[in-house]
């Protein structure tokens, strides 16, 4: 039997070796690309770990422009955006994210990169809720530069049990530039059209709105989570667009009694954002060739990736930009009339173009 002095030496040495081993391995094979871009393996980037992967993407990828938003922005093609809008785009998307989720990513982007252009999908549902509300618990330790925080990454059981093995399986392969288009892209995974929409279980938030409090909360959200970036970065262009939900979604709002509150929210966004010279606001909500064609949708809000490319074209051509409040009012009137018509009809699973 050894003496206690040797026992202590052996045990502490083994523990130190374990610590050094873990830190070294995670720093080299860095699944979430916190320390460096993956050059010898394919990192796991998918929706299930989006808030983790985003931490490395926002920090270490090379870009000067970004597309920011919820799932309706995930099918954009940054390589196509490069050619149409100029710059070098990256996706900074959070499925079902709130404006605070987007703000966290924007803050990291501005902290680590010089940004020329932001294309921002202003999902009105992401403005509802407290200004510090996150859709998912954020792994803060990946979003700070404090080394001490990283222990949660170095000694993370899921990293060791799942993500490191995944990286090792792809050892020797290199990330292509097309990763920018592929990341979080859900195109091809679903059917579109009436049957898909009928089967869709997606249900947008069903809040009971107190219109005044709700608008005040949305204003607060804009002031805290979006305006600071616009104000402090006049050199960056912000192309902010209202995503084209299907007309059926506005009918849903009518059924839930939230339609008028959400239409007012669109006006509020215009009032808050339009005074800034570096902001261009686009409204695609009432573009009838898109939103009345049910074949563009997998559910009431999510459109096919061809619409994302068309949005890119519209932004490049300044088609759909809104400089007058009356345009939003006019579009609101259209949305209201479609919502009423569909609501009155009592159903909405039909080809909207043919029926209206």
């Amino acid at each position: 039997m050894m003496n206690t002095k040797n026992w202590c030496r052996l045990t502490v040495s083994l523990l130190l070796a374990f610590i050094i081993f873990c830190v070294t391995v995670v720093c080299i094979i860095d699944p979430f690309q916190i320390y460096h871009l993956a050059k010898w393996y394919i990192p796991p980037i998918d929706k299930t770990t989006q808030v983790y992967s985003n931490a490395g993407i926002v920090k270490n990828y090379s870009y000067d422009s970004a597309i920011v938003g919820t799932s309706v922005t995930e099918n954009f093609h940054p390589t196509y955006m490069d050619t149409r809008l100029g710059g070098h785009f990256i996706k900074l998307c959070t499925s079902a994210g709130t404006v605070h989720n987007h703000a966290v990513l924007l803050q990291r982007a501005f902290d680590t990169h010089s940004m020329n252009h932001i294309v921002y999908g202003l999902d009105i549902y992401s403005l509802v809720g407290a200004s510090d509300k996150l859709a998912y618990a954020l792994p803060d330790y990946l979003y700070t530069d404090t080394v001490l925080d990283d222990a949660q990454y170095w000694f993370n059981r899921t990293v060791w049990g799942s993500f490191l093995p995944k990286c090792l399986k792809t050892w020797g392969r290199k990330q292509e530039d097309s990763i920018r288009d592929q990341m979080y892209n859900w195109a091809g995974q679903d059917d579109y059209g009436p049957v898909a929409m009928y089967n869709a279980v997606f249900d947008t938030p069903d809040y009971v709105y107190n219109p005044d409090a709700f608008l005040e909360q949305a204003r607060l959200n804009l002031e805290i989570n979006l305006l600071p970036f616009i104000k402090s970065h006049p050199e960056t262009s912000f192309d902010i667009f209202f995503p084209p939900y299907s007309a059926a979604e506005w009918s849903n709002m009518e059924s839930k009694g939230t339609l008028e509150a959400l239409l007012s929210l669109r006006l509020l966004c215009f009032d808050v954002l339009s005074p800034y010279n570096n902001v261009a606001l686009f409204d695609f909500s009432a573009r009838d060739s898109w939103v009345l064609n049910i074949n563009n949708y997998k559910d009431t809000t999510h459109y096919g990736e061809w619409i994302n490319d068309e949005i890119t074209d519209c932004i490049a051509d300044a088609d759909g930009s809104v400089s007058e409040r009356s345009v939003i009012e006019c579009n609101n009137e259209k949305l209201r009339s479609w919502a009423h018509a569909l609501h009155e009809a009592g159903y909405w699973i039909f080809n909207l173009n043919e029926s209206l």
């Binding site: 040797n6 799932s71 559910d299």
Partner: protein, 477 residues
């Protein structure tokens, strides 16, 4: 700061140990190592919420001054005044933070009053450091204590291994050890069993207790709709969770204390091996039982004033014990249940002790399990729901929210989870009943290769289990 956190295991503990022993070696004349340990303990205490550091600091200052007053003065009325001030001050602070809202809420409800609620967050470990200091104040009045300098006193209260969750140590157990010059130096004979105990305690907390916690949480969320098997698994699961959690914490405290050459008293002595309720309380949270016996039960007369008075005293002690654990009617009900059981044992001790030991154990353990349901349940309705289900003989499948807590990594078929769950329960109960007590194992530690290997494996496994990636599946977009 928690023992089961990266910051503690990887930074605070090693740095504190190294600096403490370096200061002990560098300077023999001034107690720099003790000053450092007090400061480090304040950092430990205030790490998550620094706002409460002034509270413990004031508490230490006031209690020390009152105690010194009682030790110095020979005027009895003044000493009584100081004692009353100490009792009222300590219990008053505890009341304000822990019980004020509970009493105000109940008075508002019962008498239609409109007393204001504070909604104050409970300072960490206030019940522990208050009781610890109360013992010193009371002993100062009776002059059972020597006069300590302020630094030793502050160290006795703040010594971080026992600051937040006990054990409730007595000054006579700790201060002389800090005063011993040989304890200023690193001693591998203490460090080795200390690290061994810490690893075992961490394993009990992180791997065993936290696994049962997931199943228990799921079970209590469905408290009113469990079938009989589920109700028993949930109740037994909580029984095991609580033991492994609390005793794991105490093992870690013992281990860390030993690393600093300080022997912290035993707090859990395999309580689920108990054959009767009296023995259970001699084995469970031993230092709390000791405090309540010495400072409540004996002053009330203990068992010297006849059977009726003894039973009354027992009920009072257990009601207080319930209240000490938390400000809520269910805690008091839990205390009352133990009080009644203790009274029954005292009344029918001969008959009970004549039963076969296996039957004695079964009755005691079943009672303890049922009582824990009331300790854990958020409402009386939930507690009654579980207890009713336990005896309804309504058997059915085990719900996946309970069994999935025991799933093996690697994506095995969820159908196996119920089998893993049974294994977990068997092993955990087996460990409670069959293995020697952790405290004893630590004290009889042998520096073997096997012990080194188990220590390293347990620590590595625990460190890797402290954090994971919360994979979210946003199925519907």
């Amino acid at each position: 700061m928690l023992f089961n956190s990266y910051i503690f295991i990887l930074a605070f503990l090693p740095i504190t140990l190294i600096v403490y022993f370096l200061l002990g070696r560098l300077n023999q004349r001034y107690p720099l190592n003790k000053i450092f340990l007090v400061l480090a303990s304040f950092v430990f205490y205030g790490y998550n919420n620094p706002r409460y550091v002034p509270i413990i600091l004031c508490s230490i200052l006031v209690n020390y001054l009152l105690s010194q007053g009682m030790l110095s003065l020979n005027i009895k009325p003044l000493r009584i005044l100081f004692l009353i001030a100490g009792l009222v001050g300590n219990l008053g602070v505890l009341f304000l933070f822990k019980y004020h809202d509970f009493f105000a809420e109940n008075l508002n409800r019962a008498l239609s009053l409109n007393l204001r609620l504070n909604y104050w967050v409970l300072p960490l470990g206030i019940s522990f450091f208050t009781f610890q200091q109360l013992s010193y104040v009371i002993d100062s009045y009776t002059r059972k204590v020597p006069r300590y300098n302020f630094l030793d006193y502050a160290l006795f209260v703040t010594f971080f291994p026992q600051l937040i969750a006990g054990p409730i140590v007595l000054h006579s157990e700790i201060v002389p050890q800090f005063a011993d010059p040989k304890n200023r130096h690193f001693q591998s004979d203490n460090f080795a069993p200390g690290l061994f105990a810490f690893a075992r305690g961490l394993f009990k907390k992180v791997i065993i207790a936290d696994t049962f916690a997931v199943a228990v949480e799921a079970g209590f969320l469905s408290a009113t709709s469990l079938n009989t098997a589920e109700a028993w698994f949930v109740a037994l699961g909580y029984t095991l969770q609580l033991y492994f959690d609390f005793s794991g914490y105490c093992d870690m405290a013992t281990g860390i204390g030993l690393m600093f050459n300080i022997r912290i008293p035993i707090n859990f002595n395999s309580p689920y091996k108990s054959l009767n309720i009296r023995e259970f309380w001699q084995r469970w949270h031993i230092t709390l039982s000791r405090f309540l016996t010495n400072y409540v039960y004996f002053p009330l007369g203990g068992s010297r004033k006849g059977m009726v008075r003894t039973c009354f005293n027992l009920l009072i002690v257990f009601l207080l014990s319930g209240l000490w654990h938390g400000a809520g009617w269910l805690f008091m009900l839990w205390g009352l249940m133990h009080g009644v059981m203790s009274v029954l044992y005292r009344l029918f001790r001969k008959q009970f002790d004549a039963l076969h030991p296996a039957l004695q154990w079964l009755i005691t353990f079943t009672f303890v399990i049922i009582a824990w349901v009331f300790f854990r349940a958020p409402t009386l309705q939930d507690a009654m729901g579980i207890v009713r289900s336990m005896f309804m003989m309504n058997f059915g499948p085990l719900r996946s929210s309970i069994t999935s807590a025991f799933a093996l990594p690697g994506g095995f078929h969820p159908g196996y989870n119920a089998i893993y769950m049974m294994l977990w329960y068997l092993l955990a109960v087996g460990a409670c009943l069959g293995l020697p007590n952790n405290f004893e194992t630590t004290m009889s530690f042998k520096p073997t290769l096997l012990n080194a290997a188990t220590t390293v494996i347990m620590l590595v496994y625990c460190i890797l289990s402290l954090s994971g990636v919360s994979v979210f599946l946003y199925f519907n977009f």
